[in-house]
Symmetry: C2
Subunit: 245 residues, 2 copies
C-alpha cells in the first residue's frame, strides 16, 4: 500500500536540472531535492494506483510534491455525481495552502511517488522564504489557467471535442518529442492513458458509454489508434488538435 523510499536509492529520471523531474511547462513549485534539503521531516513515499491521498472535508496535515505518476483531483456531490477538477503530474505541488481543511479529494490515478512535508513545517519555511512563496504562486496561477481552460471544455464543447481535448492534453504531456530533440522528426505520439474510461468521463462531464463511443469514432476516422485499451497512438497531433473545437 504505502512504502517509504530510501532517499539515496531513488532513481528519479533526471531531465529538468532545477527539479529533477521529467516534465514540461514551468518548473514545479518545489523540487524533491529542495524539499529534502529544506527539512529533515521530508519523506519520499510510494503509493499504488487508486489510493486516496487527500479526502474532502478532512483536516490538512501535510503537503507533497509529485515525483512520478498522475494524481486526480475530484469533487463528489451528495448523490454520488463526481467531477474530476484537475489532473496533476510530476513535479506538481499537492495540497491547499493556508487552509485547515481540504475542499477536494486527491486520488492516485497511476502508481505514484511523492515527497511529503508536514503542513506546519512547510508553512514556516514559506514565511521566511519569499522565493519559495513566489514559486508556489506561479504554480497556483498555472493551475488557475488550466482550470479556466477546462471550464470552456466543460461548458461549451461537444462530446467528441471533449474527448479530443482530453487526448490532446495527455498526448502533449507525454509526448517524448518534447524532451528529445531527435524524436522531433517522428510524428507518431504513443502513450498510455493514466485514467480509466470512467475517470475520463468524470473529467469531461460525460458518461462512460459516451466516452467509449467517441473513442470508437476517433479510431474509425483514423485520428487515433487504440493498441490495447490504455495504449494510444496518435499519427498526427495536428489532426487531433483540429477536433478540439
Amino acid at each position: 500500500m504505502e512504502e517509504r523510499l530510501d532517499i539515496h536509492n531513488s532513481n528519479i529520471p533526471k531531465i529538468c536540472r532545477s527539479c529533477e523531474v521529467r516534465h514540461r511547462g514551468i518548473c514545479g513549485a518545489l523540487s524533491a531535492t529542495e524539499l529534502l534539503e529544506i527539512s529533515k521531516h521530508t519523506r519520499q513515499i510510494k503509493h499504488e494506483a487508486g489510493v486516496e491521498l487527500v479526502s474532502d472535508g478532512e483536516p490538512i496535515t501535510s503537503y507533497a510534491t509529485i515525483m512520478q505518476g498522475v494524481i486526480k483531483l475530484s469533487k463528489i456531490l451528495e448523490d454520488g455525481r463526481q467531477q474530476v477538477v484537475g489532473l496533476q503530474f510530476a513535479p506538481d505541488f499537492i495540497g491547499r495552502l493556508f487552509s485547515q481543511k481540504n475542499n477536494l479529494c486527491a486520488e492516485t490515478a497511476s502508481d505514484v511517488q511523492v515527497c511529503r512535508v508536514p503542513k506546519k513545517i512547510l508553512e514556516n519555511l514559506i514565511a521566511d522564504n519569499s522565493e519559495l512563496e513566489h514559486k508556489l504562486l506561479e504554480q497556483t496561477l498555472k493551475e488557475l489557467d488550466e482550470a479556466r481552460e477546462w471550464m470552456v471544455t466543460l461548458g461549451r464543447k461537444t462530446a467528441l471535442e471533449k474527448v479530443a481535448c482530453f487526448l490532446y492534453l495527455i498526448a502533449t504531456h507525454f509526448d517524448p518529442a518534447y524532451f528529445d530533440e531527435e524524436k522531433k522528426q517522428e510524428k507518431d505520439v504513443v502513450f498510455d492513458l493514466p485514467l480509466t474510461r470512467a475517470d475520463i468521463a468524470d473529467f469531461l462531464g460525460l458518461t462512460v458509454e459516451t466516452v467509449s463511443r467517441q473513442f470508437t469514432k476517433l479510431r474509425t476516422e483514423k485520428i487515433i489508434e487504440i493498441t490495447t485499451r490504455r495504449h494510444i497512438l496518435i499519427p498526427d497531433l495536428n489532426i487531433l488538435k483540429k477536433c478540439c473545437g
Copy 2:
C-alpha cells in the same frame, strides 16, 4: 466611456477597514488605499457597463483592483462559442500576474470603478514586499477554489441546478444581512442581477432560452420572485440552496 476620479473625492463605502470595500470572504489582495499609498502611478478610473478592460491575447500593461461593480472573465472559441470563466467583485484583483499576455477577456458587467497600477510598477513592488505577494497568493488560491467549484456545476449539474447555483452565488454575495447584524432576522434577500440572461447562459454553459425557462420554473414554484427583469427577491435562501444539487 472612461473617467478619472479625483482621489480625494471618491466615496467608497467603508465597511472593511483593511480594504475600504464592502465585501465578503477574505480580504482583497490589494486595497485601494494601499495601492494609492504604494505608488503615485496608481489611478482610479470609472467605466460604464460593457467595456472590455482586458482582451484575450493582448499584451498586459497594467493590473487593477475592483472598487465597485462586477467584472466578468470570459473565453471565446473561434466559432463564437463563449464561456464565462469567472465573476469578480470588489475588492478582487484583476490581471494575470507574471505573464506577458492575457489569456482571457475581462469585461465590465455593471458600472465599475477600478484602481489601476502599471504592470512593471506592481511587479517591482511585489519583488520587495513579501506580504503583498502573500496576499496575491491568497487571492489566487481563492479564485482557484471558485473555479474548481464551478467546474462541478458545469460538468455535473442540470439546467435548473445551474440556475439555482448562480442565483445562490449572487444572493450570498449581495445579501445585506451578511454585513448588517440587524437584518439577520429578515429572511428576504433582494438584489439586482449583475448579468444579462445571455451572460448567465454563457456562465452556466446553457442557452438563453433554457436560462429563461428555469427562471420561470423557479418563479412558478415560488422559490424566487422576479420584480423586474433584473430585480430578484428570494423569500428563503435555504430553499434555494436545496435546488443547487
